[in-house]
Assembly symmetry: C2
Homo-oligomer: 579 residues x 2
Amino acid sequence: MQRENLQAYYIPGTGPHISEYLPACWKTREFISGFTGSFGEVVITERNAILWTDSRYFIQAGEELAGSGFEMFKLRVADAKPFDDWLIENFPRGSRVGVYPHHISVNTHKNLLNKLSASGIELVLTPDLLDEVWEGRPKLPDNEVFELEKKYAGVSRVDKLDKISQIINQQGADIQVVAALDDLAWAFNLRGSDIEYNPVFIGYGVIGSDIKALFVEKKKLPVTLSEKMEREGIKIYGYDELTGFLKGLKDQKILIDPQLTNVAICEACSVNNKVVEKQSVPLALKAVKNNVELEGFREAMQKDGVALVEFLYWLRQNLGKEAITEYIVGKKLKQFRAAQEGFVGESFPPIVGYKSHGAIVHLSVDEASAFKIGPEGLLLFDSGGHYLHGTTDITRTIALGGLTGQQKRDFTLVLKGMIALSEAKFPYGTKGCHLDILARKALWSHGLNYGHGTGHGVGHFLSVHEGPMSIRQDYNEHPIVPGMVVSNEPGLYRTGEYGIRIENILLCIEKEDTGFGRFLGFETLTLCPIDTTAIDTKLLSRQEKNWVNNYHKVVRGKLKNLLSDELNLFLAGITKDVE
Amino acid sequence: MQRENLQAYYIPGTGPHISEYLPACWKTREFISGFTGSFGEVVITERNAILWTDSRYFIQAGEELAGSGFEMFKLRVADAKPFDDWLIENFPRGSRVGVYPHHISVNTHKNLLNKLSASGIELVLTPDLLDEVWEGRPKLPDNEVFELEKKYAGVSRVDKLDKISQIINQQGADIQVVAALDDLAWAFNLRGSDIEYNPVFIGYGVIGSDIKALFVEKKKLPVTLSEKMEREGIKIYGYDELTGFLKGLKDQKILIDPQLTNVAICEACSVNNKVVEKQSVPLALKAVKNNVELEGFREAMQKDGVALVEFLYWLRQNLGKEAITEYIVGKKLKQFRAAQEGFVGESFPPIVGYKSHGAIVHLSVDEASAFKIGPEGLLLFDSGGHYLHGTTDITRTIALGGLTGQQKRDFTLVLKGMIALSEAKFPYGTKGCHLDILARKALWSHGLNYGHGTGHGVGHFLSVHEGPMSIRQDYNEHPIVPGMVVSNEPGLYRTGEYGIRIENILLCIEKEDTGFGRFLGFETLTLCPIDTTAIDTKLLSRQEKNWVNNYHKVVRGKLKNLLSDELNLFLAGITKDVE
């Protein structure tokens, strides 16, 4: 920092692809601070080392930072002081703050630059200072890239790239740099395993009518696959060749998504070409699933449903007999899924919370800290799988013994919200922030609420959290349209007592076209029983009871041929009609 | 235009105070085009004269523009081309577009400047070209300004101005130019009658810790009032002295609201001072009513309720006997309100729509075009009054004879939405776009919808449409908080058949503070029966029936002492419990 004449160094906590999850080599924030959570920003000065994170991680960060010399500053609390405000307050005009341009998005950089420069602080692009002090820094992952066949993807790579190119042209650009790893994997019908729980590979794409190029470490591509792509007109370059390639272009209009693209790429684009800042074209396209992808989702949900019924049966048989912990529940969920054909891996680390652990929304337990579970109280489990057909994400909360009146009421209010969103019918153009209240209304009417969003997009054998749409209070300009796959996961968390969350995956579908416009709705994709013993049936309307009973009928019907007689009997027993 | 070397001249259709309603002297768009609607923009070029307006006015504008040489361009339709896009498409780089800086807001001007300059078109500030061709242009209204006593306003002028000054300081400014006429009237506890249906007067204010100044034609102020204000430390200047006054200030930080302030004022502020663009301080303050204002609202609602019961009784007695038209209904509504103590005037032109006229949302009928009403079908009437105590706005739709099943179903679905919003309970911070679906859900579930917003703020003896909050699908950052008074007016319109709207005014109130946060809700202020003969009771839940019956009990109770025995009997008869 002295060499670079910096008074502060900012580490945004993301990598070159601006991802939520990173391979070890880009975990600079974790390397310097020891904090392992998914969100945190660091500022280092001559006197201070500070980590900013939000309420999900206050406890974890407190423990992980202990003794490191790092302080924690809290975000999303009253009087929170974000790092930029802190910098402005603590450094005089003329100070210099450094950041590594490969690890900050164009938008974040622009906003920060405007804010700091208004206070006379200079934001400087620097080399990766951490690289110079990181001994034994891990290497870039070099796992093999594989093709997702058209029978799973629904559309061939060539057709997808042509469609993307057309839209890039319509957006007033010649080419797009595809920087987000899930956009890249989707656009090229490729998958990988470079990042835990995310079937993506490290690479970039450049797509346009005249140029189709993939930038990836060549050793990651099987020869047959690279030959096939070259025959399809796709040029293969090394991962490090992107910026040089971009600088070598002339007079192109290059579309980059400023939220998903790092500053170094943007600068390389600007040298001899014009930058067009727009939303990534594959981002919006991949959110609307095609029929093959949807059939795949349905198949994945059946497999997931079988695994979950097997799990519930195993739990029923063994609870109170052998020692079962939250950790073992997570392992068992994976084990039952792994037995299904087409299973590739878990779509995120399972969240298994028994009793008071259930109230910790972003719980992460290891073998040592896991609670032992017994025949009483509530058990929440949120888990999912990647299948070649699609990705799943499901939460159930089940009663392991008799529940209190409050527990049943809470469970039923969460369920009412889940049902209300499932049954929503809404005009074309409706956004997630309009629908969100449906999942909360029953809770609100009792003075209850939950602090997370209600729904996120789900990728097709891709990220379990996928944009651009969402169902939450925050305004999101992207409407929910047919073909989108989103989660529906209201919850309730009583700190120190228990947590409840019920999550199904929904598909947005057309309902009817009336003189008052196109009306849309949802089809529930998830196939897994809801614990009717946890319901306070007095709180359900006739219509809500019908929803539960119809849902269970569908679950039984769709899983019937995939379950043994014993498991069909078990399923029938736990899905008796609610009256 | 040739003298100014302009290729086009833009008339935004607003005046110096950026108001929805204008006195005749500022109706430049109406003068030049003949179009009298409340929204329209005009562009004049050497070859074209074009008016842009939205679906409310397509029919009216078509008729009013006939033979004028003006074309109509439609806004808010598929493939709409706003005037700025039209200019860019039709004029080469280097073209000059003129606008009069006194009749365009800072924000509109800034956006237009950015957009046009990106296409090489220059936006030029010019004199008021229309003034040079407008023979017999009306004069500025010079109606008397009067004081709204503290017993109505709740807070004295001195205390209000001090509070406003404090907040201006907290916002990082020394003074604010108050340009919006309702902000001005509220801040100074003054009212006027310069604009139809709006109890405001033409003027400006400058408010700060060291300066309190009112800019108004001096002849409009009674001597006793101006002397009183001068004793309170308020300087009185002529209306035209504002820009000179602002240019004469030195090194002040002047807050202006860029949505509510015209460019000429902003330029005058910039000469020797710094402009701070923020939301108008009185705008947010006046939206949260104080207890005296709320008591006034309740009193106004009682008076309005009495007038409406008298109207309903008159209609019952005379329908089918004497010739009654929509026009006469409007006159009668005014007449019954006018008999109430404290009545000042109507808060907007009454909308009275019988049968197919009810489906025209922004209906305006005159004596000649009014339908005669008879003992059948649906009658919609939307009307309101200004009382010294407060402003009212109410819509009822009543059955004048037997209804079809579809009519009853439609009425009941609208009512269900109105009830759902009335009963909402929601955490602090909830915005109008989150709540809007409550009023629409019952309609949406039947493939029905309405094309207007659900709720607007209502001023306290001020504009019947008041910001900054709203309840509609559009995102509005201002949450609904305790003390805000908003309308609740879902509807349904079947073109050529009938229209239904039911509108009550709600007050946002505290409900409870739980471990999950502060929860808010609404108290219904409007006191007028809902036509139970139009309800399909099969479609109402027990809870909804209870709401209707409880509401009618409150209406009877609050109006009892103000109605004759005969009218109490009548009211009891039409508000029998729904079972």
